[in-house]
Assembly symmetry: C2
């Protein structure tokens, strides 16, 4: 049971955590914090938070759990603002999609890795953002990856694990570097392809007509290109090393595919498509 | 009203046309044709076709409308098999995803463009295939692109237009070359990216784990990688010129994006993502 939860950044991710913990009866008071007064007022009106403070230092005062749910580019600033205001026993965790940058921000801000910091990443979300899009079931049966460090206090790790399990999530842990590589492959690269494809088509002269003839599959394929541009800009920069490596790997694959098409290499094309279909069908079966 | 419809290739596309025309009361008899006896028997048992012939020449005998719904790589063989068996007034149309290759196949087979040939492409489908996946509503409110040639008999064009309109489709026409470029951009390229992404991940050593952490968006994004590999092999080869040009255009876009990530060009990344999101949101609004 969390006595007082401070949520820095009350959007889809932070708002859904608040709703889920409230629904589970696992939280006493929820204090919201953010730059937009209007958003905080809406969050309070929706019952997502009990009260709010615009200053992170005030918001975390007396909290036993602090959840950072701001874009990656705002993490360091948020940490600096709450530094010196945390209770000694307070646990800090976050929802950032890249863990290396969050750990670097913490080390730079606090001068060391705080033992009560548990970097985390709920693998959940939609292409919508904002507190209005939040819902209590967002994390049900979803994975949450925690990336504890050698310095991490096992008690803090246990508290964050229980918090996510109370939301219905399945909690696993891995190293910071491995997390950032896995996410570059399964999330960051696909988003780059969707953004890149839609942008390439949008820049074609006849783009109105192009989009008019896009069939049903196109809508699903490009859904993630409707995601928040600022969030994705931050993810790209925060994870640029692992993402660059995945882009290069994908580039090699596409050069091979394009070359096979150019020379009408029927056999090699079929091999690629069959291997991809088998992997995709296996993935869907195992995800059921 | 079509008196006798011959469908060469009774799968998702051919089967759905049969079901839709039957539901609309716009067809007398439906004769199926294909290589697999089992599939034809299933199609008959499902009531999709009235009877079948395995020989295309016999299947088209006495038909006033012939629909070719075989993979692009089998078009020329199917045309050769029915040549000399068509009624002089019979209209031929097809459902191929590439029109240049179908026209070339017809010219090579018949020694000229048959005036009663109306090349066509229903922009509809799912990642499933086979007659069991067919349904009468597949073409409702979907676009069908016809690509008539200077040689095309206006009466034949009118009959094919009415056939698709009876299925609830919106019929438009454009040139063969323009069709193949538009489809390369909106359908063939996205399929290459989905196949390429899933294959690139499947080939990574830790691919089981990679797929385990793929979130919800990944499933939608890669759905089209579950499409029929033979069909897509044929599409790539049939449309290799336009598809190669689109792959090159996409490659330029991705090189720019990768370069911006490498040098952490915050402003340029945001510009790309915002333009893509705006185009995608506009497309979804207009597709409603």
């Amino acid at each position: 049971m969390i006595e007082r939860l401070a949520i820095i950044g009350v959007g889809l991710i932070g708002g859904s955590l608040a709703r889920a913990l409230r629904a589970a009866g696992e939280v006493g008071e929820i204090v919201g914090c953010g730059r937009s007064l209007g958003n905080l007022e809406r969050a309070q009106a929706l019952g997502v938070i009990d009260r709010f403070r615009q200053d992170p230092g005030e918001a975390v005062s007396g909290a036993d759990m602090v959840f950072l749910a701001v874009p990656l580019g705002a993490m360091r600033g948020a940490m600096a603002a709450l530094k010196g205001h945390l209770d000694p026993s307070a646990v800090i965790t976050d929802g950032g999609s890249v863990k290396g940058s969050v750990v670097a921000d913490a080390a730079a801000t606090f001068g060391r890795i705080p033992p009560r910091l548990v970097p985390g990443h709920p693998i959940a979300g939609t292409e919508c953002s904002g507190v209005e899009a939040s819902f209590a079931e967002l994390y049900e049966s979803r994975r949450v990856i925690l990336t504890p460090l050698p310095e991490t206090d096992p008690d803090a790790l246990g508290l964050v694990t229980r918090m996510w399990e109370a939301c219905g999530a399945e909690v696993t842990s891995m190293s910071v570097g491995h997390h950032d590589e896995v996410l570059a492959a399964t999330s960051h690269l696909p988003h780059m392809l969707a953004f890149g494809l839609v942008d390439a088509l949008a820049r074609m002269r006849e783009n109105d007509e192009i989009f008019r003839y896009a069939a049903g599959g196109f809508r699903d394929f490009t859904r993630i290109a409707s995601s928040n541009p600022v969030m994705w800009r931050d993810i790209c920069i925060a994870n640029r090393e692992a993402l660059s490596a995945m882009l290069a790997r994908f580039g090699v694959e596409m050069t091979d595919l394009a070359e096979s098409i150019r020379r009408a290499d029927s056999e090699h094309l079929l091999e690629i498509f069959e291997r991809a279909k088998a992997a995709r069908d296996r993935y869907v079966d195992s995800a059921r």
